[in-house]
């Protein structure tokens, strides 16, 4: 009797590890160790936690942008730069048109929306043509569009002196300060500050709003259809669903969320980064959602939240803690290995069907 009992316990632990995934467990343990170590090596824990929360707010929506496409079976959205570009267009046009303060943030969202819809539809149409090879092509669509926009940032007739190069008077700068525009507008809204510990309530609420929107959408008829398309496209087709249309919708949603995500990122970061900056922005978002427990064709809001916290926690904690422990700042390298390793892990899982 004893033996069977221990066996079941062992099985249960094993089952838990299997369902959670070994790499995820290691990452969570690593982060936990960092938090425990932090006070001992002289890092200020409240500041660290505040930083983590802040970075969570910056990146949360970009990670959320993965969800619709994963749900509809389009795989991980390596084409996120497309959404980011829409966001950047919104941001720059909002400034160009003379909006300032908090208004400029919402104006940017509004202006970014049509771009996101158009780019998203084209992108979705393309992905429908190449079902099965989404991820690789998405990556390169992202790259092409970013490098195309590099030319556009130089050529488009922007005039706002806050954005163009001072000397030539044309062509946008690589970094544009958002001071006086929407820098920190969300974070400072209802901000709670206790000593070194601060909570950017507004930004959290904004993320919560977006996350709730997606959660609610997934509970509607169309959202249900989207999940079914991702789970088994043949089933959905047999049930009369226009698979291509649903996939297209998911791509548009992902693109739009990418646009809003980059705006939220900018408001926290305080700068607009143009040119090559969006190039690799998809990768941290992809690895964050995977760290959160998503797979190539399954993702939930919980995955987004857990993943972003874990990922950004590591990003904020490693430099300080590592520096203090071994006097080597290995945080960048650790981040690369962790995040890329996570993506690789997800890609090699056999159970996740043959989407790629």
């Amino acid at each position: 009797m004893e033996e069977t009992k221990t066996l079941t316990l062992k099985d249960r632990i094993r089952g838990f590890i299997d369902s959670f995934g070994v790499p995820r467990l290691i990452i969570a343990a690593f982060l936990l160790a960092l938090f425990i170590l932090a006070p001992f090596v002289g890092a200020d824990l409240p500041t660290q936690i505040s930083n983590t929360i802040n970075r969570f707010c910056w990146n949360g929506i970009l990670v959320l942008a993965m969800v619709p496409m994963v749900h509809s079976g389009c795989g991980l959205n390596f084409g996120l730069p497309l959404g980011i570009i829409s966001g950047l267009l919104g941001a720059t046009l909002s400034i160009e048109l003379g909006f300032t303060g908090a208004i400029s943030f919402f104006a940017a969202i509004v202006i970014a929306t049509p771009f996101a819809l158009i780019l998203g539809s084209v992108y979705g149409w393309l992905l429908n043509k190449i079902k099965g090879g989404e991820m690789m092509i998405a990556t390169y669509v992202g790259f092409s569009s970013v490098s195309f926009m590099c030319m556009m940032w130089l050529l488009l007739p922007y005039h706002s002196p806050n954005m163009v190069w001072g000397l030539s008077g044309k062509g946008l700068r690589t970094t544009i300060s958002l001071e006086g525009y929407y820098s920190q507008v969300l974070s400072n809204f209802l901000k709670i500050q206790i000593g070194n510990f601060s909570i950017p309530t507004g930004a959290l609420l904004f993320f919560a709003l977006m996350a709730f929107g997606i959660w609610a959408f997934l509970h509607t008829k169309t959202g249900t259809a989207m999940t079914a398309v991702g789970s088994n496209p043949a089933f959905a087709r047999a049930a009369g669903i226009n698979v291509d249309k649903i996939r297209m919708l998911s791509v548009v949603m992902s693109t739009w969320l990418g646009a809003v995500g980059i705006l939220a990122y900018e408001q926290g970061f305080g700068f607009i980064q143009l040119y090559m900056a969006p190039f690799y922005m998809a990768l941290p978002a992809v690895s964050a959602i995977l760290i959160g427990g998503a797979s190539v064709n399954k993702a939930t809001i919980t995955n987004v939240i857990i993943g972003t916290i874990l990922f950004q926690g590591i990003v904020t904690m490693t430099p300080t803690v590592m520096n203090n422990v071994i006097h080597m700042d290995m945080s960048e390298v650790i981040r690369i290995i962790v995040s890329q390793g996570m993506i690789l892990y997800a890609l090699t899982r056999k159970s996740e069907g043959s989407k790629g």
Binding site: M276, Y280, M281, L283, P284, E332, R335
Partner: protein, 167 residues
């Protein structure tokens, strides 16, 4: 039969690895590079002072690497230990050129080697004219530390582009 084949193959494989290692060792010998510095400076040896000629032209591989007036230093890279050079010595200004072909063995462990040419030409022993060049520990000020800046340590995209584009 199968085992015999693999044994034979193993032998061949070990042979190949050995050959590669041998080549690698050979490369260590013939490829060892040295930086040779030529001094046209006064030398002191056992109390005797050797005067410098007016000018020495140093040719390495038929290429002039130094045109050394008195007190000058020149340098050249050399691969391997058997160093050869041709010196064209002008004793006085306007004087006739004297040609000397010099061959000497460079010590394997020294990266930089200073040759005091007047001392060497005077036929002094090796330790009189050959010394190791030890670079002064210069404070490097260049910003070399910050390597990875981008989110993913993948900065240098444009740099990479430039590079592939070439010179």
């Amino acid at each position: 039969m199968k085992t015999k084949m693999t044994k034979r193959m193993l032998l061949f494989r070990c042979g190949t690895i050995l050959v590669l290692l041998l080549i690698a060792g050979l490369m260590f010998l013939i490829g060892r590079g040295h930086t040779v510095y030529f001094d046209n400076k006064k030398a002191e040896y056992n109390g005797q002072t050797i005067e410098t000629p007016y000018r020495i032209d140093v040719y390495v591989n038929d290429e002039r690497v130094g045109k050394l007036s008195s007190g000058d230093r020149g340098m050249a890279s050399w691969m391997g230990q058997n160093f050869k050079m041709r010196l064209e010595i002008t004793k006085e200004k306007g004087g006739k050129k004297q040609i000397a072909n010099v061959a000497l063995k460079l010590p394997y462990n020294m990266d930089g080697i200073i040759l005091n040419l007047p001392a060497m030409l005077a036929g002094l022993p090796e330790d009189a004219y050959l010394s190791e060049f030890i670079p002064a520990p210069v404070e490097v000020t260049e910003e070399d530390n910050e390597v990875v800046t981008d989110e993913f340590g993948l900065e240098g995209l444009e740099e990479g582009m430039e590079e592939s584009a070439g010179e």
